[in-house]
Symmetry: C2
Subunit: 142 residues, 2 copies
DNA sequence: TGACAAATGCAACTATATTGCATATACTAT
DNA sequence: ATAGTATATGCAATATAGTTGCATTTGTCA
């Protein structure tokens, strides 16, 4: 499902029992378009550019609410802050360039076997995993 | 190599071109003993208990210096803060209990194949990866 | 359209982390 | 053993990320 238009985002929010406010709708659209997890500052800048008046406290509350309702997943990439990505996006991982800081999503992970192993051997109920690769991206190698 | 004694830790520090101060030696020992990555507050509490006078700024500087010299690796487990573990420890991953917050190290990971794949397909030079499993630990399931 | 629960804006506050600078200390050479 | 020097520390101020209380505004639904 694509949420890049206004009404899809409103529906998505209503289904999560959240009121469809301008800031929330715009942030859902932004997250849907984005090919990488976004931090709060990026969201604030985006709302400013769209002339949607807002406040950092509100944006922090929005991402927390989105997380609580399962709309997004928080993630930390050793930057000292959280990033958020839509949880509807297919399972994927991240390539984090240690030089330029760029983040790229990659998919087709197959660690289900590893998860099974852990559940059996460790009696730990795995609900999710987070896999990041750190290194140097193609353009930074030149 | 075991660094649980004073002189081993001193050597380890000197080899990294760092002066062996009481706080640094004690923290190396603590990290060596620990079976999970530690946050700065835990380090401060430890130094307090050992009557090693210190200051948060100093401990933050120590872990940054340790990171810079490659003695430790920083890691974030979606807690909003950094943890640190000795980089000499064998490659391993973490089981993070979402209920009690407990963290367990696990080893025997085999994602080298996945890394190779990424290097070939994405032309991304992988230097390290971080793999965490989130879920519910054995005792919290009861 | 009006009532009401939910969301926002603002300000104050907390936690985590960094920085400048004067003082103290570990290391080196003697 | 000691003095000299670069390094590390302590303290205070500051920065950044995130939270909370409360009065006001707004989205939703009857």
């Amino acid at each position: 499902m694509h949420l890049t238009n206004f009404h899809d985002c409103k529906n998505e929010l209503n289904e999560a029992q959240l009121r469809a406010t301008p800031a929330r709708i715009a942030l859902m659209q932004l997250l849907e378009k984005s090919d990488k997890p976004l931090d709060v500052q990026t969201m604030i800048d985006f709302l400013d550019k769209k002339d949607i008046k807002t406040d950092p406290a509100t944006v922090f509350r929005i991402v927390n609410m989105f997380t609580e309702k399962g709309l997004v997943k928080p993630i930390q990439l050793n930057e000292g802050k959280f990033r958020y990505e839509l949880s509807t996006k297919a399972a994927h991982h991240h390539l984090v360039c240690e030089r330029c800081g760029n983040i790229e999503d990659i998919s087709n992970c197959n660690i289900a076997a590893l998860e099974n192993d852990i559940e059996k051997k460790k009696h730990f109920k795995v609900t999710s995993h987070s896999l990041e690769f750190f290194g140097v991206c193609e353009s930074c190698q030149r």
